[in-house]
Amino acid sequence: MRWGLDDVTVRLGGRVAIIGVTLPVEPASVTVVVGGDGAGKSTCLRALVGLVGVEEGSVRRPSKSKIGYVPATAGLYADLTVDENVAFSATAYGLSGAELKGRAGRILGLVGLDGVRDRLGGQLSGGMQRKLAVGMALVHSPELLVLDEPTTGVDPVSRAELWRLISRAGAEGTAVVVATTYVNEAARGSAAMLLEEGRVLISGAPEGIVGEVPGTLGRVRGVSQPTAMSWRRGADWRVWAPTGDLPPGVTRVDPDLEDAAVIAALASEMAVSS
């Protein structure tokens, strides 16, 4: 493990925010941390970049000047122009002169904001603001890029643009960590981790996660008696048999990441209640 969290527990205001979380983060890869609001995603990311102390476990991170971090809110200055925002970020990381100019120009091209360099940050659309914030975090070519929910509330076109930037950073050698509430975004990276109530439910390569779902999963049009082991997917039902066989009339299906996530959460609930 080059960077990451090793068996980390963080307590915030007397409450355990994350417990025993191991999150390996490798160069030239994108790691996706998935969970609902309050699951502990931001705490993992903040522990990784050093914004919160850990109670137990250890954290490996590069020096501060080699980290790029974008929090879930803001990440830019509304009353500075696009150009000024990038220049401010670059200056803060010790860039100046021709190097600053060159890097800033390249970043604005990469994030597709060359055309609006004089516009105030606060006047950009939500999607453009997120792209600018990612650009600002990339301007000093960090070894570790940490993005907290860059795509939340963003329309699909901007979302695709943001993922293009994220993958590009990974493809160019950066170790990237992205938090999201959208389970389908877990497939975007080379590794994913699903968090719920501060605990890791599942982690690993996306193809491994769907390949290692326990039990048998099925699909059926209607169920007469919904059980704790069944849930809706569109007009259909999913039925999960943790051990034995599926009930008659239920067609076996291969789980996708969303199914895997629901099953992991169900299994964890069963373990807690038993």
């Binding site: 695709a160 699903l194 849930w231 809706r232 629901v262």
Partner: protein, 288 residues
């Protein structure tokens, strides 16, 4: 389209010289879940406000329960905004009884799904539970039409599955459901979709119909990072899914570029997913 709960026929809405909604037609029938999709500013909220009679259309016809919308017909609608509209400093039971009273519904016990939280303050509950409460409260007066704004955003996978179970149950009991969202996971839960671009319905139908034979090129290679950078730098619309790349372009163009860059790869055409279809619809719509 007779018997629709809510219906718009060639409806337009102009604010000064700006046309927010342009000749939009849609219907929500009993028992179905319809998704209204579009980027921010595409006109989704304006359509909802028109359907509920909160705005008077500049042109076209709006029918709510087969009549022009009025305060009376609006009582038959349940609405859950993204902000949920609950009182966070009241308990679950207080929220429930207050809303029931406001709609003039007879006093009734809490539904099973939220009963165990009756005495807890709404503000202290996890978001997924808050959303279930908001949904239950919106159902308290047995509305015939439900309007939900991103009903499961920010909720974990199991919480989401349970919310959709509630929504489907309401539809199966006969309600029509209109979901506005730009979250493709929610869109895939709907029976039918309408995609709005710049005030116009740019595509409509089931998920399969919206995807409608669109395809992308799937690229697999050992050197995914080099391939990604090469395609992206050349201006291709490329997305990575792990080490597999998906490119909205012709197979020949992709293969030619990668061969020119000396990157060994295997490419094939695969069906687009809903997100890719949405991007294609929106990109084409905003060009025209």
């Amino acid at each position: 389209m007779t018997g629709s709960l809510a219906r718009a026929l060639g409806v337009s809405m102009r604010f000064g010289s700006f046309t927010a909604v342009d000749s939009v037609s849609l219907a929500v029938d009993k028992g179905e879940v319809v998704g209204l999709l579009g980027a921010n500013g595409a006109g989704k909220t304006t359509v909802i406000r028109l359907l509920l009679g909160l705005l008077r259309p500049s042109g076209g016809t709006v029918r709510l329960f087969e009549a022009p919308p009025t305060v009376g017909t609006r009582r038959r609608v349940g609405y859950v905004p993204q902000s949920l509209g609950l009182y966070t400093d009241l308990t679950v039971a207080e929220n429930w009884h207050f809303t029931s009273a406001a709609f003039g519904s007879p006093r009734q016990g809490l539904p099973a799904g939220i009963e165990s939280h009756a005495d807890e303050l709404v503000g202290a509950l996890p978001l997924g539970t808050q959303r279930r409460v908001a949904f239950a409260v919106a159902l308290a007066h047995r509305p015939e039409l439900l309007v939900l704004d991103e009903p499961t955003s920010g909720v974990g996978p199991l919480g989401r599955a349970r919310l959709w179970q509630d929504i489907r149950q309401a539809a199966e009991a006969g309600a029509g459901v209109l979901v506005t969202t730009h979250n493709m996971e929610e869109a895939e839960e709907c029976d039918r979709l309408l995609i709005m671009v710049d005030g116009v319905v740019a595509s409509a139908g089931t998920v399969a119909e919206v995807i409608a034979g669109r395809s992308v090129v799937e690229v697999r290679c050992d050197d995914w990072d080099a391939a990604f950078v090469a395609l992206d730098a050349a201006g291709f619309s490329v997305q990575a899914h792990g080490r597999t790349l998906r490119v909205a372009a012709s197979s020949q163009d992709v293969t030619a570029l990668l061969a020119h860059e000396g990157i060994a790869s295997r490419s094939r055409s695969v069906p687009a997913n809903l997100e890719e279809a949405f991007v294609a619809v929106v990109t084409a719509g905003s060009v025209s």
